[in-house]
């Protein structure tokens, strides 16, 4: 029984991997409604703590980390640990929490690179 389970699951796994690769290789369908200029992502700007504080919800979550401003709204569901951990830091300066993870140990370099993808600007000097 276990031999059959191993063989069938391994074959199905590679078929699924091949299927996902094939789907990604297919040419994308033409966009019907191109995004309007208003919806296009804004270029990095300068924000005050007040600006950041207006984005303190799970679905609209900005954070200040080491003087940079990040919009992590789309990342929250993908955070490896419970996303609830992040929510109290929405709209606030989360530098210390990011640096220590609450346990005195910092995030990995990989996490730093991931975070950079969500940067929207820098913090304005008070």
């Amino acid at each position: 029984m276990m031999r059959g389970l191993y063989l069938s699951s391994t074959v199905l796994f590679w078929l699924a991997v091949a299927g996902l690769w094939h789907a990604a290789e297919a040419p994308p369908e033409p966009a019907i409604d191109p995004p309007s200029p208003a919806e296009a992502p804004a270029s990095p700007g300068r924000y005050s703590t007040g600006d950041v504080a207006r984005h303190g919800l799970a679905e609209d979550c900005w954070m200040i980390i080491a003087g940079e401003v990040y919009d992590v709204s789309s990342y929250i569901p993908d955070h490896p640990t419970d996303p609830e951990i992040l929510l109290p830091w929405c709209g606030r300066d989360a530098s210390e929490a990011y640096r220590t993870k609450g346990t005195g140990r910092s995030h990995s370099a990989y996490a730093d690179r991931q975070l950079a993808q969500y940067r929207i600007g820098t913090l304005q000097a008070p």
């Binding site: 276990m2 191993y6 796994f13 690769w21 789907a23 990604a24 569901p77 490896p80 990995s108 990989y110």
Partner: protein
Amino acid sequence: MTGRRWLSPAICIALPVVCMAWAWPHGLPPWRSVAILSGWAGTGLLLASLILMVRTPGVTARLGGIATLYRWHHLSGSLAYLLLLIHPLALAINGLDESPLVAWQTLSPADQTWPEWLGWLALLLLMAGLAGSFGPRLAYRPWRALHWALAGGVVLGLAHLYALLGNAVPVLLVIAACTVSLGWRLLISDLGWQAAPYQVESIAHCADRSIELTLVPCARALSAKPGQFVLAAFSDGPHFHACGEFHPFTLSAIEDRGRLRIAIKALGRCTRRLQNLEAGVLVRLQGPFGEAAAPTIQPRLWIAGGIGITPFMAILRNETGGPPTSLIHLFRSPGEAPFLEELKARSGQDGFDYRPVATGDCIPDLATLLDTITDLPARAAHLCGPPALVDSAHTALLARGVPPGAIHSDRFDFR
């Protein structure tokens, strides 16, 4: 021992459940939740599988015996593999909501960095290691090398977990428990740090390509009973070069002052080399393992194939006035039948009925042999021999009304 058999399945259920409970996702997309839960359930089952491969007599007895332990070790390891295959696929499927390209980038190593590469390498090592177990039957050494690839897969999987989740307490607990289990297995079981030293006192040829050794303890003696087996690793002698690995051998006699006898048939590379063993060689023993033969007043039927006669020899040599017992001993030719003369000499004494059967190269006609046994359904049956013989004898006994609970079989294929 029977009362503890629930412990192994309990570990296999409890660990993935605890892991999933800790990581239980709230408000996440369904496929992302599947990915998290499959990853953690797989990790919990891998940990269970590692705990169940710790092979020391005390742990083995507490977890229901070595056969139970290995059955659940294999089952939990296989299910862990299945769940860990689902983990990356579910993450990729989660990306399909955005686009097929995002789904592929979630999976593709070319679009990832080293934490994901660790996960991929772990999965590939698990795949290769299990191919050694479930693919064509390999010789012991290549099989063992592939099985160590599984341990490599576990280590890389833990590194993947740590790289992504950091030092959360459950992550550290899982890493610590896996490290202890792997270390214990390596040091205590594979390197034999707690093995008892014995010395080969004498060697007797008991059949073609078979020897029987008498081992005398150099320090503490193992407390063994008939029906049990030990793991033995021999040292080199003046003219003998040992394999250095632990192999299982059933006890053929338990004598006074801790002396043990084991029978060895040349079946593989290592046991062939052992036929040239010399008296005085040191041997390290682990054990005893396996269920001891339970005392009974019920008439017995024993079926032995080839060297599978060994546990019955230990029982016969160590009991006086046992219940009526019929022993069907199947072997290829009389020259290859261990202990043939001794068993013939015992036949007819104290209700012992010995039935030697030379099968040549033919498959034994078990149906005819069993039909000559009186009161078959009332007998306690004990089977020992090649797996094919044990399986067919088991089926034939059930078909003749022997209750399943009255059939005991020994399997020494602990891969």
